[in-house]
Symmetry: C2
Subunit: 143 residues, 2 copies
DNA sequence: TAGCTAAATGCAACTAAGTTGCAAGTATTT
DNA sequence: AAATACTTGCAACTTAGTTGCATTTAGCTA
């Protein structure tokens, strides 16, 4: 991991009053670098030989979520994907697109969706999530 | 389960060329009756004493999904929720609202959302899913 | 109606994502 | 440098969903 990324990660950690430990710098630096949702397993693999323990990665991510640095980006499988909580408003994150052919996920950061309106009085819609699936350019049969 | 429901379930099964077995009639009848997403566990509990085996419920639901009778309505937890595949178009199902206070889920069947537009050439958006969370009328602090 | 067969079921064992408890280590404060 | 609250790693656990296989059954045919 680049020194610049490490510095950025440490700064971020301090800004939310989290201790600047090695596992946290590594995980946060990675999320800063890849800029797309990753699972615990993917994080572990990418950090390679001296990746922190699985439990530490989960707890690290949990602390990031609590601090508001990271979101769980719910995809359609059974595993959680985590990404930085930028490109989001209070009410909604950007849509996520997953290719049904190759499985790749893309962040549609430029796409904004109108908020759903409640069908009846009394509901308060605090947050909205949009998931998309289909073919990515690589797998598009018409291309 | 009511006789009418059973008859309806059997009819539906025949219409998609699935064998009319007891487990299938029971599970489909239940989904017809409750009209909201249920997990395998909830289905099993509601069917009570002589509910089919867990594996049978999963395989039953899988056959319904293959036949297009049922959708997996992905909610925010780690478990799958299944519901009848009506109130859906080819491109999107109705939004689902889950209350962050009491956990109840409501189907916003009347609410339609515009489809997201691809941010760049090449993506084909086949399906869109919208999840909402907030306070339900029961838990709304302003009510 | 009885028999045939492919499809469906039930059970036990398994997989894998995420959790919990606890002893040992360490970042920050003083 | 010492104190201590926070963090880490490991082992054991939980739980949703899967797999393999022997047994049963729905729907068909004779
Ligand atoms: Mn994203
Ligand atoms: Mn619904
Ligand atoms: Zn693709
Ligand atoms: Zn509620």
């Amino acid at each position: 991991m680049g020194t610049a990324l490490k510095r950025k990660a440490k700064k971020l950690l301090s800004s939310v009053k989290l201790r600047r430990t090695n596992p946290r710098v590594a995980v946060l630096g990675l999320l800063l670098a890849v800029d797309k949702p990753l699972t615990q397993d993917q994080i572990s693999t990418r950090l390679g030989r001296n990746a922190p323990d699985k439990v530490t990665i989960y707890r690290t991510l949990e602390s990031f979520v609590r601090a508001g640095l990271v979101h769980r980006a719910f995809l359609q499988e059974r595993v959680w994907h985590f990404e930085l909580a930028d490109d989001c408003t209070e009410q909604q994150c950007h849509p996520h697109f997953t290719c049904t052919s190759c499985g790749d996920t893309h962040c549609f950061t430029g796409v904004t969706m109108p908020m759903a309106r409640s069908p009846e009085k009394g509901f308060v819609i605090g947050h909205q999530r949009v998931q998309l699936e289909g073919f990515c350019p690589k797998c598009n049969p018409n291309l």
